[in-house]
C-alpha cells in the first residue's frame, strides 16, 4: 500500500456535509415489498428486451430481460416470484413520466437460480469475461449507468496509465459508498484486482475523500494485509471531487480534453459499487440485483444505509426508515446538488439510485425567486470545469445555441456549484440543461430533415425515371402499331377469313383506344386554352387574345380530326367483330357427339337385356347370335363415339371454354351415381354368394363388380379433383362483390362525414348554400344506408353474383357490369365537380352567376350519368334472369 500524491482542480464548493445522520445505524436490509418494479431502461442506451411473459415463475437471479443492441444491458429477477405485469409504470426520472417496467410479485421463498461463478476468469480471454459481465447486467453504479463492458472495451483503445476507483462520494447526505467500503472491503479489493487483470493499467488508485476515516482505515488494513500494489489517494473534501473528470484531475493532474473521454488519455474510472458488483459476478456468479442506497433526510426517524433489491418501491423504503409523512415536503432521488425531485413515492430503486432524500420544508426550502444577474463572477470562481457560467447564461437565455456550444456548454457536468454560489439565486443549471436539450433536439431535427430530403429526392428521381420509361414505351408502341397495321394488310389474304378478321380487329381496337386517349388529351388542351382565352378577355390583354384564339382554333381542328379518325376506326372494329363469329362453327360436331353417345347407351341396354335372357336359357342359339350382333353394334357405336370425342376437343375450343364446368359437374354426378349403384349391386351379389358359397358364376360376378367399382371410384376421384377448380370461381367472385360493397359503404360513410363537416362549416358561416349541402348530406346518407342494407344480406348478393360468374352466357352481364362501372365513375366525377364548384362558390361570391351555371351543367351531367346507370342496372337484371334460366 502506498499513498499517492494529490493535485487540485479549479473551483468547487463546500456545502454542509450532512453525512453523519445516515451513518449512525448499521447497514439495514429491508423486508421484501409486495411487488418489485423493474424498469427496462435502467442504464444509458437502448431499453432491454423482456425474455419472460406475464404469469411466468422466475427464480432469484434469473435473466428476465436481455440487451437490445450494443449500448444496452441485461436485467435479472431480484427475488423469486411471479411476473405480474409488463406495463408502463412511473419511474424515477426528472420528467415524472412512465416507462415500461417488469413487475414481479415475490413468493417470499428467495429461491436462487443456479449460480455458476466464472471459473478460471484469469485465464479466460478478456472478451469472454467482458461478455460475462454484460450478461450479469453490470452497469456503472455511480450515476449515469453506463454499461460496464462497453466502458472497459473503450479502455482498450489506448494503453492505460491509471485505473482510478472512484470512492470520493462528494455529494452531501450520501454515504452509500462509504458504507459499502466498510461492509465489503475484501470484495471491493478482489473486484478491483479482477478489473485490473482485464485492463492492465500501470497504476491502480482508489480516490477517496478525507471525510471517510473509517473506510480509509479499513481499506489500508486490507491492502497492506494483501501486500497489494493498489494505492489509496486521500483527496480533500470539496464538492464536486467525485466527478469523473475532477477526480482524474485530482489524482493525475491531467485534464480530460473537451469532447473526449478519459480513455482517450489513458485513464479509466470505475465506481466502488461497480467493482463490488464485478466481484459478485465473477466470484459468486451473482448478477446485479441489489445495491447500497442511503435513506436520509429530516423526515426519516431512522436514516440509514440499506442493501436493497432493485425494483423496491421507494414508499416501502420510507416506511422501513420510519417516515413521518406529515413533515415530508420534498422527496429527492440522489443528493441535494444533482438529484431531482420525485412526484410520487411509488417509483422503484434502479441500478443507479444511490440516495433517497426525504426532506422537510426547513431542510430543503423552495428555491428563492430568480433575480437579475449582477455579474459578480462568483459562478466562474466555483465552476469545476473552468467554464464561463455567466456567458453561458446569456446565450441560454437568448437561445443562441451556436454560441453556447462554442463556449463549451457540453463540458458542463451540471454539478450545480454555480447555482449554489449565485447571490441572485439564478437556477443556472436548469438553463444549461434546457439549452443542452435544445441543441440535441436541433441536431436530431437536422439529421431527420436530411433524411427526409434524401428520401424526397430519391422519390423524385424514381418518378422522373418512371415517366421517362413510360414515354419511351409509348413512343415505341406508337411505332410498332403503325408497322402492325401495314403488316396486317399484307398478311390478311394468306390466312382464313375468320382469323384475318380477328387479326385486324385487335390492332383496330388498339388504334381506337389510342385515338381515344389522344382525343381526351386534345380536348383537355382545348379546354385549357379556352380558359386562358377567357381570362385574357377578362383582363383585356389584346395581343394575347389573338394568339390564344389562333391556338384554340388549331386545337379544335385537331380534336375534330381525331374524332373523325376515331369514328372510322370504330366502324372498322364493329365490322371486324361482326365477321369474327364465323370463326366458331362448332355446334354440329357436338350434336353428332351426343347422338353417338345415345347410340352407345341404347346398344348397351339392348345387349344387357339379351344377355339376361341368355342367362335364363343358356342353350338358345338365336339369343347367342343376337348377343353377338349387339356386341358388334355396341363396339361400332363406341368406336364412333371415341372418334368424335377425339375430334371435339381439337375443333371446339370455344364451347369447351365456355361451359367446361357444367360438363365436369354433370360427369361428377354421374360418376357418383355409378359408384353408388355398383356398390349396391356388389352387396346384393355378395349376399347371394353367402347363401350359395359354391356358385362359381356368382363369385366371378362379384369379382367383376368389385373391379368396376374400383374403376368408378378412380374416375370419381379424378373428377372431384377437377371440380373444385370450377366451384370456388363462383364463390370467389361473390366474395369480391361483397368486398366491393364494403368498400363502397366505407366511401359513402366518409362522404357523409365530409358533407356533415361542410354543413357545420356552412352553418357557422350562415351561408346560403346550406340547403344544397343538406340535400347532399341526405343523398349521401341514403346511399350509405342502401349500401349497408345490401351489405347486410350478402347471401342475396352472393347468390345473384354466383350465376353471373359461372353461367355460360355471362359475357353480356360482364359487359353490362363494365358499363355500369363506367357510369358510376362518371357520376362520381360529376359529383366531385359539383363539390368543387360549390367550394369555389363559397370562396368567390362575385363569380357566383357563372359558377352557378357551371354547377347546373355539372348536375345535369350527373343526372344523365345516374339515369344511364339505372337503365343499365335494369338491363342487367333481366340478363341475369336469363342466365339463371339457361342453367
Amino acid at each position: 500500500m502506498q499513498t499517492a500524491t494529490v493535485f487540485s482542480f479549479h473551483g468547487g464548493i463546500h456545502p454542509p456535509e450532512n453525512k453523519a445522520q445516515s451513518l449512525r445505524l448499521p447497514l439495514g436490509r429491508p423486508s421484501l415489498p409486495n411487488e418489485l418494479i423493474l424498469p427496462l431502461g435502467q442504464h444509458i442506451g437502448q431499453s432491454s428486451r423482456p425474455l419472460i411473459n406475464v404469469g411466468d415463475k422466475v427464480l432469484k437471479g434469473q435473466t428476465i430481460a436481455i440487451n437490445n443492441g450494443f449500448l444496452s444491458s441485461f436485467l435479472h429477477a431480484p427475488t423469486s416470484g411471479t411476473i405480474k405485469a409488463i406495463e408502463e409504470r412511473p419511474i424515477a426520472h426528472p420528467s415524472g413520466l412512465s416507462d415500461v417496467c417488469i413487475v414481479i410479485t415475490p413468493d417470499g421463498e428467495e429461491q436462487w437460480d443456479t449460480l455458476t461463478p466464472l471459473q478460471h476468469w484469469n485465464t479466460l480471454s478478456k472478451t469472454d469475461v467482458l461478455a460475462y459481465l454484460a450478461e450479469m447486467g453490470i452497469v456503472g453504479m455511480g450515476g449515469a449507468g453506463f454499461p460496464t463492458q462497453v466502458k472497459l472495451q473503450g479502455a482498450h483503445k489506448h494503453p492505460l496509465t491509471h485505473f482510478i476507483i472512484n470512492a470520493a462520494e462528494c455529494e452531501p447526505y450520501i454515504t452509500a459508498d462509504d458504507m459499502l467500503i466498510r461492509e465489503k472491503t475484501i470484495e471491493l479489493v478482489l473486484g478491483i484486482e479482477a478489473l485490473q487483470h482485464l485492463v492492465e493499467a500501470e497504476q491502480v488508485i482508489i480516490g477517496i475523500e478525507d471525510n471517510k476515516p473509517t473506510a480509509i482505515a479499513e481499506l489500508n488494513k486490507v491492502l497492506s494485509d494483501r501486500l497489494s500494489t493498489i494505492q489509496v489517494a486521500v483527496v480533500p473534501t470539496k464538492y464536486p471531487s467525485g466527478g469523473e473528470k475532477q477526480l482524474i484531475q485530482l489524482i493525475t493532474g491531467k485534464e480530460v480534453p473537451s469532447g473526449q473521454y478519459p480513455a482517450d488519455i489513458g485513464i479509466l474510472c470505475q465506481n466502488v459499487g461497480t467493482c463490488v458488483a464485478v466481484h459478485d459476478a465473477i466470484f459468486l456468479g451473482k448478477p446485479l440485483i441489489s445495491r447500497f442506497t442511503t435513506l436520509t433526510g429530516d423526515v426519516l426517524k431512522a436514516p440509514q444505509n440499506v442493501e436493497v433489491l432493485l425494483g423496491t418501491p421507494i414508499s416501502h423504503l420510507l416506511d422501513y426508515a420510519e417516515n413521518d409523512s406529515k413533515k415530508l415536503k420534498r422527496l429527492v432521488m440522489g443528493g441535494p446538488m444533482m438529484g431531482f425531485t420525485l412526484d410520487s413515492a411509488n417509483v422503484p430503486i434502479v441500478k443507479t439510485s444511490n440516495c433517497v432524500l426525504a426532506a422537510s420544508k426547513k431542510e430543503l426550502p423552495q428555491p428563492a425567486p430568480e433575480q437579475a444577474c449582477i455579474r459578480c463572477g462568483m459562478c466562474e470562481q466555483a465552476c469545476p470545469a473552468s467554464l464561463l457560467p455567466q456567458q453561458l447564461l446569456w446565450f441560454s437565455k437568448s437561445q443562441e445555441l451556436e454560441k453556447a456550444e462554442h463556449y463549451n456548454l457540453f463540458d458542463c457536468i451540471e454539478c450545480g456549484a454555480c447555482s449554489y454560489v449565485c447571490p441572485s439565486s439564478i437556477p443556472l443549471v436548469q438553463y444549461y440543461r434546457h439549452t443542452k436539450s435544445s441543441i440535441r433536439e436541433a441536431r436530431e431535427a437536422a439529421v431527420k430533415s436530411d433524411l427526409a430530403k434524401q428520401r424526397f429526392e430519391a422519390r423524385k428521381a424514381r418518378q422522373d425515371a418512371e415517366a421517362a420509361e413510360k414515354e419511351a414505351k409509348r413512343v415505341a408502341r406508337q411505332k410498332a402499331s403503325a408497322n402492325k397495321t401495314t403488316d396486317g394488310k399484307k398478311v390478311a389474304p394468306k390466312v382464313t377469313p375468320a382469323t384475318a378478321a380477328a387479326a385486324t380487329a385487335t390492332p383496330a381496337g388498339d388504334d381506337s383506344k389510342k385515338l381515344k386517349i389522344d382525343l381526351a388529351i386534345a380536348k383537355t388542351k382545348l379546354k385549357k386554352l379556352q380558359k386562358q382565352l377567357l381570362a385574357a378577355q377578362e383582363s383585356e390583354h389584346t395581343e394575347e387574345i389573338g394568339t390564344l384564339q389562333l391556338q384554340a382554333n388549331e386545337q379544335e381542328k385537331a380534336v375534330a380530326l381525331l374524332e373523325e379518325q376515331l369514328a372510322k376506326v370504330e366502324e372498322q372494329l364493329t365490322k371486324a367483330v361482326a365477321s369474327a363469329p364465323a370463326a366458331s362453327p362448332k355446334a354440329p360436331a357436338s350434336d353428332e357427339l351426343k347422338k353417338a353417345k345415345v347410340d352407345v347407351a341404347l346398344s348397351g341396354t339392348k345387349l344387357k337385356k339379351t344377355q339376361k335372357q341368355l342367362a335364363e336359357s343358356p342353350d338358345d342359339a338365336e339369343l347367342q347370335a343376337k348377343v353377338a350382333g349387339f356386341e358388334k353394334e355396341l363396339a361400332d357405336a363406341q368406336a364412333r363415339l371415341s372418334k368424335l370425342a377425339a375430334d371435339a376437343p381439337a375443333s371446339s375450343t370455344a364451347p369447351k371454354a365456355a361451359a367446361p364446368k357444367a360438363a365436369v359437374s354433370d360427369e361428377l354426378k354421374k360418376a357418383k351415381v355409378d359408384v353408388a349403384l355398383l356398390g349396391v349391386k356388389l352387396k346384393k351379389t355378395q349376399k347371394q354368394l353367402a347363401d350359395a358359397p359354391d356358385d362359381s358364376e356368382l363369385q366371378a360376378k362379384v369379382a367383376g363388380f368389385e373391379k368396376e367399382l374400383g374403376e368408378a371410384q378412380a374416375r370419381l376421384a379424378t373428377l372431384t379433383s377437377q371440380a373444385p377448380v370450377a366451384q370456388p370461381a363462383a364463390t370467389a367472385s361473390a366474395g369480391d362483390e361483397l368486398k366491393k360493397l364494403k368498400i363502397d359503404t366505407a366511401i359513402a360513410k366518409a362522404a357523409v362525414k365530409k358533407v356533415e363537416k361542410a354543413l357545420k362549416k356552412a352553418e357557422d358561416l350562415n351561408s346560403p348554400e346550406l340547403d344544397t349541402i343538406r340535400q347532399q348530406l341526405q343523398d349521401a346518407q341514403k346511399r350509405a344506408d342502401d349500401l349497408e342494407k345490401a351489405l347486410a344480406n350478402p347471401t342475396t348478393v352472393a347468390s345473384s353474383a354466383a350465376p353471373a360468374a359461372s353461367a355460360p352466357a355471362s359475357d353480356e352481364t360482364a359487359r353490362n357490369a363494365e358499363h355500369i362501372k363506367k357510369q358510376k365513375i362518371a357520376a362520381a366525377l360529376a359529383k366531385a365537380q359539383i363539390n368543387k364548384l360549390n367550394k369555389r362558390l363559397a370562396d368567390s361570391p362575385q363569380d357566383a352567376d357563372s359558377i352557378q351555371l357551371e354547377i347546373t351543367a355539372a348536375k345535369q351531367k350527373q343526372q344523365d350519368a345516374e339515369a344511364q346507370l339505372t337503365q343499365l342496372q335494369a338491363q342487367l337484371t333481366p340478363s341475369q334472369d336469363n342466365t339463371q334460366e339457361n342453367r
Binding site: 431502461g41 426528472p94 412512465s98 437579475a372 434546457h434 430530403k453 366511401i747
Partner: protein, 198 residues
C-alpha cells in the same frame, strides 16, 4: 510629359495583368448553381408539405432567393424564420397565418382496420413513408414521417389521423426557467428578503 506617359503605360499594363488574373479566376473557380439556395434549403425543415405553395422545400428555397417572403413555412415555425433572417440579413417577421399555423410535431397514423388499400396516400407521400400495396393494408413508417398532412386529404375513407408525437422519458427535455419576469416586484435582493420573512 514622358513621366505621365510612363505612369499611364504602367497602370495600363497592371490593369491588363490583374484583369487577366480576375478573368482566369472567374473561369477556374466558377461555382455551379446558386449556393444561397442550398443554404436556404438546408435551413428549411424538409417536410416537403407544400404549405408554402411550392411543390417541396427546394422550390421554396429558390423562391426565397428570388425575393419571396421568408415567413411561409409553418412546419419550420419561428425558429426557421429566425435562421433565414440571420442568413439573408433581413428582419425576422412573424409567421404568415395564411399558410398555416405552427403545430407540435405530428406523424400520420393509419387506422389499419379501416384501410381499403387504395394506395392513394402512398402516391401522396413526399418521402415514401407509407408502406402497402393495392388492396393490402397500408401503414406509416413513423420514423420517416415528416407530419406534412399530404396523405390525409386523398384518403377516400378518412382513416388517417395526425397524431402528436408524445414525449417519452428518453425524448423529454428540461423546461426553460421562467426567469425574472415570473415574479414582478422582486427585482432586487431586498424584495426577496421580504418574501422569505412572511
Amino acid at each position: 510629359m514622358l513621366t505621365v506617359l510612363i505612369a499611364v503605360g504602367i497602370l495600363l499594363v497592371l490593369s491588363l495583368i490583374f484583369g487577366a488574373i480576375l478573368g482566369y479566376a472567374n473561369v477556374r473557380f466558377h461555382v455551379e448553381g446558386d449556393p444561397i439556395v442550398d443554404q436556404i434549403d438546408a435551413i428549411l425543415p424538409q417536410t416537403q408539405c407544400g404549405q408554402c405553395g411550392h411543390p417541396g422545400c427546394r422550390p421554396y428555397a429558390e423562391a426565397i432567393s428570388n425575393g419571396e417572403a421568408i415567413n411561409h413555412c409553418p412546419p419550420g415555425g419561428q425558429a426557421t424564420i429566425q435562421a433565414l433572417a440571420d442568413l439573408l440579413d433581413v428582419e425576422a417577421i412573424p409567421l404568415d397565418g395564411d399558410h398555416g399555423t405552427e403545430t407540435a410535431k405530428r406523424v400520420a397514423v393509419i387506422r389499419e382496420d379501416e384501410c381499403i388499400g387504395c394506395t392513394k396516400c402512398i402516391q401522396a407521400c413526399p418521402v415514401d413513408a407509407i408502406l402497402g400495396a393495392a388492396k393490402q393494408m397500408h401503414t406509416v413508417i413513423a420514423d420517416e414521417c415528416t407530419g406534412c398532412d399530404l396523405c390525409v386529404e386523398p384518403c377516400p375513407v378518412d382513416c388517417i389521423d395526425m397524431v402528436e408525437v408524445g414525449v417519452t422519458s428518453r425524448t423529454w427535455s428540461w423546461d426553460k426557467p421562467q426567469g425574472i419576469a415570473a415574479q414582478p416586484g422582486s427585482i432586487i435582493a431586498t424584495d426577496r428578503q421580504a418574501e422569505v420573512v412572511h
